[in-house]
C-alpha cells in the first residue's frame, strides 16, 4: 500500500464522504403513482410499476416517453425484492419479458447493488441463471468461444430476441419491440451469450443456479428435474462417470492384484488311476490321505478318461475329513460322443471333467468316489463302438481362486457404470436435441439411424 506516497505530499487521509440516501423518489407523469428510483444516477428509463408508462429519468426533470394504462403483470419476484446470492445482496429493480420473435419466451430480472453494479437473473420457467455482463470479449477456440481457459459449445445460433414487456428501471433506453441478434454458447453449468445490434456487441456470462440457491435468495422454486434439460445443465451423471469410473478402476485393479498375489494352485496332492468300464455298474474307490494346510481352500478334482468314446462316466465325489467325518460332495461327468453327418465328422463333450469344492478347511481327508461308466445305446444311429480305454485318472489339487468370482465382481462393479453411462447419454441427447446444432460427440455417436 502506498498511502505513504500521498502522505509525503502532505495529503492526510480525507474525511469519508457523507452518507447518501438510496432512493430517488419521483411521481409518474402518467398515473401520478410514486416511483422509487433505486439506481439513481445510472437509471435512464423507468417503466412505471403502476401503469407501465415509459419515463425518461436521465435528467432531473422526468419526461413521459410513452403513456400506457396497462394491467400490470404480477412478477414472480416483485420489484424491490432483495436477496443474497453468493454472499452479495441484490435488489430487483427491473424486469424484461423477452422472446425469440414471439416464441420461446423467457424473463430477465435486473439486479442492482450500488457497490457491485448490475447482474441479471434469467429464467425460462425451468431454471434460473445468474448473469454478469463481461467487460471483455472471449477468444475464439476450436468450435466456439473460449473464456478463462474454458471452451464453450454453440447451442442457439443466429437468434433474434425481442423485448415484449418491461417494468421497473434500466440503465439504457429500453423499448418494447427492441431487437438484438443473439448467439448462446454453453459448457456444463455456464452459458455465454452474445447480443449484438448495429451499435454494439455485448457478452454475458450466466451461471446456472441450483434450486436451493435461488429459493434461499429470492423465494422462487424452480422445477427440480426439468425435462428436457436446460442448455447449460450439467448431466447429473457426470460426477459419477468421472469419479465413479476412477473408483471402479481402482477397485478392479485391487481385485486383479489380489488374484495374482493369491497365486496359482500348487502341485497335485494326489494322482490315482482307477479301472472303469461301460457296464453301468457303480464302483467305489477311496483315495487318500489328502492333507491340506490352509485355513480354507478350494479343492479341484479332475477326472480324465483318455480312451473315452461315445460314452459317459458319472462320478460322485465325497471328500471326508478323517477327524470330523465332515463331508464335501460334488458330482461330475466326463462324456464324449462323436459321429458323422451331412456336415462331416463331429465330436461333442469332453473326456476331462474338473469339479471344485469350496471352503474346505485344513485337515486330512479321504476322497470317496462312486463312479459308473455307460455306453451310448441309441441303435438308430450308426455310431462307432463305445469304449473307455479302461482307466480313469483322478487328480486332486489345491486351486488358487475361482475365476468366476472375479468375473462376477467385475460385472457387479461395471454394471452400474454402464447404466450411468446410458443414462448420461440419454440426458445429453435430450439436452442437445434442444439445440440449433443438434447432437454432437458421444450423443451423436450413439444415435441409431431410426432414432430421432
Amino acid at each position: 500500500m502506498t498511502d505513504g506516497g500521498l502522505q509525503e505530499m502532505g495529503i492526510e487521509a480525507p474525511p469519508p464522504p457523507p452518507p447518501a440516501p438510496a432512493i430517488r423518489a419521483l411521481s409518474c407523469p402518467g398515473c401520478g403513482g410514486s416511483i422509487s428510483v433505486r439506481a439513481a444516477g445510472y437509471t435512464v428509463t423507468v417503466a412505471c410499476q403502476y401503469c407501465g408508462s415509459i419515463l425518461d429519468v436521465a435528467n432531473p426533470e422526468v419526461r413521459l416517453l410513452t403513456e400506457y394504462h396497462l394491467a400490470i403483470q404480477e412478477l414472480e419476484i416483485p420489484l424491490g425484492t432483495r436477496g443474497t446470492l453468493r454472499g452479495i445482496e441484490w435488489e430487483v429493480i427491473g424486469y424484461l419479458s423477452r422472446s425469440e420473435r414471439g416464441s420461446y419466451p423467457w424473463e430477465e430480472y435486473l439486479l442492482f447493488n450500488p457497490y457491485q453494479g448490475y447482474r441479471w437473473l434469467v429464467t425460462n420457467g425451468r431454471g434460473w441463471s445468474f448473469g454478469e455482463m463481461l467487460t471483455r470479449a472471449p477468444d475464439w477456440g476450436h468450435h466456439g468461444p473460449r473464456l478463462d481457459g474454458h471452451d464453450y459449445a454453440p447451442f442457439f445460433v443466429d437468434g433474434q430476441a425481442q423485448v415484449d414487456y418491461v417494468l421497473g428501471e434500466f440503465y439504457w433506453r429500453v423499448a418494447v419491440g427492441e431487437e438484438v441478434s443473439t448467439d448462446d454458447y454453453v459448457r456444463p453449468g455456464y452459458m455465454l451469450s452474445r447480443e449484438a445490434n448495429e451499435q454494439e456487441v455485448s457478452w454475458t456470462l450466466s451461471t446456472l443456479l441450483d434450486g436451493d440457491e435461488i429459493r434461499r435468495a429470492f423465494g422462487v422454486r424452480p422445477p427440480s428435474n426439468p425435462w428436457p434439460p436446460l442448455p447449460h445443465q450439467p448431466s447429473p451423471y457426470r460426477d459419477v462417470m468421472r469419479k465413479g469410473g476412477k473408483i471402479g478402476l481402482a477397485v478392479l485393479a485391487f481385485l486383479l492384484l489380489l488374484t495374482m498375489v493369491m497365486g496359482s494352485g500348487g502341485q497335485p496332492l494326489l494322482t490315482e488311476t482307477l479301472p472303469v468300464d461301460l457296464a453301468g455298474t457303480t464302483r467305489t474307490a477311496t483315495l487318500g490321505p489328502i492333507t491340506v494346510t490352509r485355513p480354507y481352500q478350494l479343492v479341484a478334482i479332475r477326472a480324465q478318461v483318455p480312451g473315452l468314446e461315445n460314452g459317459w462316466i458319472d462320478l460322485d465325489y465325497a471328500l471326508v475329513d478323517r477327524a470330523t467325518q465332515a463331508s464335501y460332495q460334488a458330482y461330475g461327468a466326463a462324456e464324449r460322443y462323436s459321429g458323422r453327418d451331412s456336415d462331416g465328422d463331429w465330436t461333442e463333450g469332453s473326456r476331462r471333467k474338473t469339479v471344485k469344492l469350496a471352503s474346505v478347511p485344513a485337515g486330512t481327508y479321504d476322497l470317496v468316489i462312486d463312479y459308473a461308466g455307460n455306453g451310448w445305446r441309441d441303435f438308430s444311429r450308426p455310431y462307432a463302438n463305445s469304449q473307455t480305454g479302461g482307466s480313469v485318472i483322478i487328480e486332486v489339487s489345491r486351486a488358487a481362486a475361482f475365476p468366476s468370482n472375479l468375473i462376477l465382481a467385475v460385472i457387479l462393479i461395471l454394471a452400474p457404470l454402464v447404466y450411468f453411462f446410458f443414462r448420461h447419454l440419454s440426458f445429453e441427447q435430450a439436452r442437445q436435441d434442444e439445440s440449433d446444432i443438434g447432437r454432437t460427440g458421444l450423443a451423436k455417436l450413439f444415435t441409431s439411424e431410426d432414432d430421432d
Partner: protein, 48 residues
C-alpha cells in the same frame, strides 16, 4: 462428490469386500460342491 457417486463407491467397496471374503474362505457361488450337512438320525447300516 455427489450422492450417486458416494453410493457407487459404497457398492464397489461392498463388492470388493465380498470378493476378498470369498477369497479368504475359498468360497464361490459357482462351486461344484461343498460341505454337506450331516444327516440327522441314525448312522450306520439301516437294512434289516
Amino acid at each position: 462428490m455427489d450422492r450417486r457417486t458416494f453410493l457407487y463407491g459404497l457398492w464397489s467397496l461392498a463388492t470388493a469386500g465380498l470378493f476378498v471374503t470369498s477369497t479368504i474362505y475359498a468360497y464361490s457361488p459357482f462351486a461344484d460342491g461343498g460341505r454337506v450337512a450331516p444327516r440327522a438320525g441314525v448312522y450306520g447300516p439301516t437294512h434289516k
